[in-house]
Amino acid sequence: MAKLLFFGRLGDLAGGIERSVGLSEPHSVAALIGVLEAGDRLLGSALLEGRVRYALNGTIVDRDAMVADGDELAFLPPVSGG
């Protein structure tokens, strides 16, 4: 299983901050978003917005990065602290 984390407003769209997906073979971030989009078009398009960044096991990556079972992929919308 790969762990998916949805922060900020993306968690509302995903129906929770965390979700597990079974990956029989590695998927690119883009392909994984495609899978999610097939189940939920609104979530899929939100994950593709230009200001959303992707963190794979704690490192910022682009949509070509490969995600396999055991990985943690986080979707990071624009931040707001302070």
Binding site: F7, I17, P78, S80
Partner: protein
Amino acid sequence: MLRRVTIASGPFDPEAEIAAFRKALHDSGAIVTFTGQVRPSNGDGSVTTLSLQHYPGMTERGIEAMLDQVAERWPLEAVLVIHRVGDMRPHDPIVLVATASAHRRAAFEAADYLMDYLKSRALFWKSETSASGRAWIEPRDEDYANAARWDAYPGGG
């Protein structure tokens, strides 16, 4: 440079933290502190709850990496960052930044820089609940502009 970063899931006391920070100093002549607290109202009315979310581990590593840059750029004796997560009420402290240096300029600039980073680049997500419901807050253009002005600052990148 002495440094402490705390992500606090419960309330903290800025005055007590500042007093402890100051007591630990040996060489500094200048201390700058900034406290941010929950505004009791936004444009849409009264705020009842402000909630902050972070990405445990990655948020802390990001702040530590930023402190590495701060240490290279300004001659500080010590820096303190405390940032709340979880649910807060109006007037609750959200963030405390303290910097200490031999002279005031470095302490002022480093604290200003730290706050610009925390507002627009650190991994926190903020939502506000008011009479009109819950809304996620995104940085204002002004917050991005504030952070970007350091990119062109002499002596730093």
